[in-house]
């Protein structure tokens, strides 16, 4: 392992972390702007031109607020909850292929932090860890509403993880690999998986909404029933971490959806560009365009669809999505048997 390799990875990791934080920051602004548009309002427009400095103002506000830790709360776990939420939100980006290899200074630079051969399962594993942040925080707050939210969120995540895993199985049957890089490569030239797996993609997307706790599945923080949900007792930046982790999760799951189903960094007429560096950079731009479109879709759904009731949520997860995902696996199997790959 040489020094250049370590420097290369360090730069890549810092860049990815920075980009995901900035995108998450501005997603909060975009959310409020779009919410304003959907509700025929203006949205935040005071801080900076078109309200562009609003996320900074929010950040400063959250950092400078008084920090309150409830007296009967378990302090260590109370702090651990939001930290864990933030941590699990950030680590998924390690296996996402952001673009094709670049050729810089005579080196082949991979735009992926780690190409592990169980990439898809790694993503799935981190998703299943995500619930700990909410559960630990909710329990440590020593508040009935927080506890109820924690329990809700645990049952919601476990229920939707199953359907998510089943929908990925159908995809893996087609691609024959667990590496996200190879899955992206196979989709070159508009050969996107979504055309072969429309049902699988639909199930995966619904489950991503549930796993990121976005409306219509934002039951863990359902204000009408649970005050503030799992973060009722949180203040200052610890609350900020919970809210911010949601936006990073949105970014990450958009990236996963784009690379699993929407061709990743591939774009039409890619093979016509002779310079590999230019082709790769346009690929990165194409990937981020897809990600931003998905983020817009997340926001769009949030301000259009109302929240599910708890029993509706469970019914949808167990009685609709899981059987559909199993049907999808059977259909994919039949398709592979008849048409070949």
């Amino acid at each position: 392992m040489d020094i250049a390799f370590i420097i290369e990875k360090l730069i890549l990791i810092s860049a990815i972390l920075g980009i995901s934080l900035v995108i998450a920051m501005y997603t909060t602004l975009a959310e409020r702007k779009f919410a304003g548009f959907f509700q025929d309002r203006v949205g935040p427009n005071r801080a900076g031109p078109w309200g562009l400095l609003q996320p900074l103002a929010d950040g400063v506000k959250l950092f400078t607020k008084e920090e309150i830790i409830p007296t009967h709360a378990s302090t260590f776990l109370f702090v651990l909850g939001p930290s864990l939420s933030m941590f699990t939100a950030c680590i998924t980006t390690a296996v996402i292929p952001w673009g094709q290899d670049l050729f810089l200074f005579g080196r082949q630079v991979s735009l992926q932090v780690a190409d592990i051969n169980v990439g898809v399962l790694y993503v799935f594993g981190v998703v299943s860890l995500g619930v700990y942040g909410v559960m630990i925080g909710g329990w440590a707050s020593n508040n009935k509403f927080s506890l109820l939210a924690a329990v809700r969120s645990a049952s919601q995540n476990i229920s939707y993880e199953i359907a998510m895993g089943l929908s990925i199985i159908a995809l893996l049957m087609m691609t024959g690999t667990l590496s996200l890089r190879e899955i992206s490569e196979q989709q070159a030239g508009m050969n996107w998986n979504v055309f072969y797996q429309p049902l699988g993609f639909l199930i995966f997307m619904i489950c991503s909404f549930a796993e990121t706790n976005r409306t219509p599945f934002d039951l863990p923080e359902c204000e009408t029933e649970l005050v503030g949900g799992h973060h009722t007792e949180y203040s200052s930046m610890k609350l900020g971490f919970y809210l911010f982790a949601e936006y990073i999760n949105m970014f990450v799951s958009s990236a996963i959806m784009a690379s699993l189903y929407f061709g990743g960094y591939n774009y039409p007429f890619m093979h016509l560009i002779s310079n590999p560096n230019v082709a790769a950079l346009i690929g990165v731009a194409a990937f981020f365009t897809k990600i931003l479109l998905f983020i817009f879709f997340f926001i769009w759904v949030r301000w259009t669809v109302p929240r599910f009731r708890y029993d509706q949520l469970m019914k949808l997860g167990w009685k609709v999505l899981i059987p559909l995902a199993i049907v999808n696996i059977a259909l994919t199997g039949a398709g592979i048997l008849i048409f070949g790959k």
Binding site: S74, L77, I116, N117, V118, L121, Y122, F124, G125, V127, S128, L129, V131, Y132, M135, I136, W139, L147, A150, V151, A154, S155, N157, I158, E161, L178
Partner: protein, 166 residues
Amino acid sequence: MSHSLFYLLSFITLFFALLVVFAKNPIHSALYMVMTFFAITCHYLILNAQFLAIVNFIVYMGAIMVLILFSIMFLNLNQATEPQKSSLLKFAGVISAGLLMLTLVGAIVKTGGGDVPFELIKPDIGLVKNLGKVLFNEFLLPFEIASVLLLSAMVGAVLLAKKEIN
């Protein structure tokens, strides 16, 4: 390198495993257990068994421990409500645990633990591809029987949990 890593991981595993037993608060116990499972996942990783590692991660850390935490949170356990076990039960527990330890020690002594903590004959054996080939060729029948067993357990659990309709 890998030897010292192995000993470090073993220490962490045993340390958290002991904390699971000694922690007063059941929630803390469960969280220490999560850490134990994480250390075991790392053990699989240094054995180059990536698939087993990630499955251990998903199933034990991500699903089973979440469910255990889930049920503990509902129970609200503390000293006052905890039922006191009779001394006979405690005695039986000590004896069975001692027997288990005897078996384990016997097994370890039988295998003749040398200086090398582990040695892989085929380093690639744990990768997904090789595991899949072995699982669906040589061990197809046991694999299918195990899945039928799991399915029947699931159906049984649903049947037990179902309300009786009168």
